[in-house]
Homo-oligomer: 426 residues x 2
């Protein structure tokens, strides 16, 4: 990676070799150099950012600010009281929610600087914004956290928050060649993050290193900041999840996962085929119905006041699925999800970590469609933590990732195993 | 009940014997007669309400509005775009969120009229507003949904939304002599309801009849509106949950539950002692730590910008518990909650419905404290639906309720069993 990470920026501030203002100026130069093409931002006010940076540089107690020097972005479905929050929709172009989202306030409390808001698809569903893939502007950055992945990949910001209801963090992170992290459901407090389908909505992070993910995670969880200690892959029980949707992946993507398995086996890991114990059975259908049922209700305000300003993709997509799903079906599906989550917990008794595809291939051409979330959906629906690691390169020099997942609540272990897997490639 | 229910009001509109405007005028008369003492409202604009009523009376397609004639309130921690949303705090006295909460928008879509916003304790924690108990102004209405319970009890509105993180719907409903309903976690979409501790936060309703609860539930779930069919208590398997906190209840409350069990046994129900299969073990401690951990984070905005405007009750209460709870403990507690929820599911294989106390006694004297949520906490933490039925009267003519609970997702069955239990007393 050619751009500094958050960890490096914080260290430089702490050592007195850099100021927050200098850090922001450097990132704004990257913005000026790239964003005319990338278009990652829903809102960015350079002057306001520099003013905030100067204020932080004058803080009397920098030792009390463990994230001083961290410059972050948030997808425009995280509320901000001092920047507009449009949720990717013209309906809310000038909306200012009264409170910062929990994740944003938590980083600001620790000295982090919010540079701006990154583009989201419309209400974090599928209708895209103008953002392009920094690796190739003719390709999508993925969605719905399009701008967060693109801004991090282009070096315009250290880390960026995203949200995932199906595959909205891991997929764009993989398409853009960054590290992506979707937490165990609920670990990153969702307060102030736009609801899409609350049973699945999960906050996540896009970053340029596993250490940066762990750093932000530590700030959010009020833990001491420390580099991740990689777990050796030697003896690690790694299971390959091809999943019931394997045929949706293209040859190049399938080959990347098979080759990763071979590589890890050679490095001493104990490879096996992942037995999901039935957890994934019909999970795509269940996930679609439950997210539809909930989305039709979270969109109550816009149904009431602005139905004609919603895209056809939204009205005839997830919202229509919601209208078509009745309460009795929703109850059955919720009960199946409870059982599937417990089955997945048990399935992890035979595996420390599961590797799978973060996407069916590299970023598709064009920006009208943001790609398929099918390989992310199981971990989101079942609340398990997942990361994507930017380990491979596909055709047209587009990035490809490796998705790694762990048992519910084992986020810290996932960071260590991801670091070990990543280290095995260096 | 001397005041019309929502079901009666909707029927009168449908029959053409009443207008929405007339309904609102009648409710406003109750307001004028009682609210100087009760003080249930955080925001109420009579002229705006009458204007909305007239607009609804002129709607060309009233048949498409199944809740036309329903006049409802929402606790002031449900977002409204057209009324201030203060969250029970002076910090947000003039805050206007950009979107209506899902529950509010859903009733408005069906023709319901939002009369105003009812008082909440500070951020739905414990610091109270000015509201008094309509049965005796020297006593608390309970909290944190103080105004919703008081407004319904005083006849100022048909139904009111509340939220429950520990015992904030069922307890005030019982103290005020109304029906209260806390849904299975997630059933009533929480979008736009202030987050307190998202793992537990649950929307609920306060109403004057079980039919009214079911009516609103049907609107929210897009089901046909129909009166509840009571299940006969004859042969019904009813379990009594005294819970590990039985000694916290006063003699009068304990006697009310024992007498209810005797009455139901005489009416033909199969009574048993509820075996919670360990689900309730240490649940009070677990619930406090988890809600503290999450609350300290949902309050990020105010910690950052307005810490000095928070009450000591809040800073040294749930927020401090959050600062004192580390992430490792939180993970252990979350895993215990998963297991406890499954244990409770299994425990319901021996019981159709569980009866317990909605509160340790009648509403305490004074309005500075809102009473103990300990008997509501298990059902909230474990996501099971609960209702309180206003069946009894205690000392000083203060109301007492009977709490009834069912298995997760069995909300419709709970309405029917509650109706059967209620009918057995008439």
């Amino acid at each position: 990676m050619i751009y500094p990470t958050a960890s490096e920026a914080i260290a430089a501030i702490s050592a007195g070799t850099q100021t927050v203002e200098g850090t922001v100026r450097h990132l704004l130069e990257r913005h000026d150099a790239t964003d005319r093409t990338v278009q990652a931002w829903a809102h960015l006010d350079p002057d306001a950012a520099l003013t905030s940076a100067k204020t932080l540089d004058q803080r009397s107690n920098p030792a009390g600010l463990p994230a001083l020097g961290l410059v972050f972005a948030a997808k425009d479905n995280f509320d901000t009281h001092d920047m507009p929050t449009a949720y990717g929709s013209k309906i809310h172009a000038s909306s200012f929610p009264p409170r910062d989202a929990s994740a944003i306030a938590s980083l600001r409390l620790a000295g982090g600087l919010l540079l701006g808001k990154t583009t989201s698809t419309e209400f974090a569903h599928v209708y895209p914004g103008p953002t392009t893939n920094p690796h190739n502007a003719a390709h999508t950055p993925g969605g719905s956290s399009s701008g967060s992945a693109a801004a991090v990949a282009a070096g315009m910001v250290h880390v960026a928050f995203g949200s995932q209801t199906t595959g909205s963090v891991i997929r764009p992170a993989a398409y853009c060649g960054t590290v992506g992290y979707k937490a165990t459901h609920g670990h990153i407090n969702p307060s102030g993050m736009l609801a899409n389908a609350p049973s699945f909505d999960t906050a996540g992070l896009i970053a340029r290193s596993i250490d940066d993910v762990a750093l932000v995670h530590s700030v959010l969880m009020a833990r001491p900041i420390a580099p991740v200690t990689p777990v050796s892959v030697k003896g690690l029980r790694i299971a390959i999840a091809r999943t019931p949707w394997w045929k949706d992946a293209d040859d190049e993507a399938q080959a990347s996962l098979e080759q990763a398995a071979e590589h890890l086996a050679k490095a001493g890991a104990k490879l096996s085929d992942f037995d999901d114990l039935g957890a994934f059975d019909e999970l795509d259908t269940i996930s679609q119905r439950v997210s539809g049922f909930e989305f039709a209700r979270t969109m109550g305000h816009e149904r009431l006041y602005a139905m004609d300003q919603l895209s056809d993709d939204l009205r005839y997509g997830r919202m229509q699925t919601g209208f078509d799903t009745d309460y009795d079906q929703y109850l059955i599906d919720q009960q199946r999800l409870h059982h599937a989550r417990h089955a997945l917990d048990r399935a992890f008794s035979d595996a420390d970590v599961v590797i799978s595809l973060p996407a069916p291939g590299t970023a598709p051409e064009g920006i009208r469609r943001t790609g398929s979330p099918i390989f992310n959906m199981p971990w989101t629906s079942l609340h398990a933590p997942a990361m994507t690691l930017p380990l491979f390169t596909g055709a047209n020099a587009l990035p490809m990732g490796l998705q790694v997942s762990a048992k519910r609540h084992n986020d810290l272990e996932l960071f260590q195993m991801a670091a070990g897997i990543s280290a095995s490639y260096t």
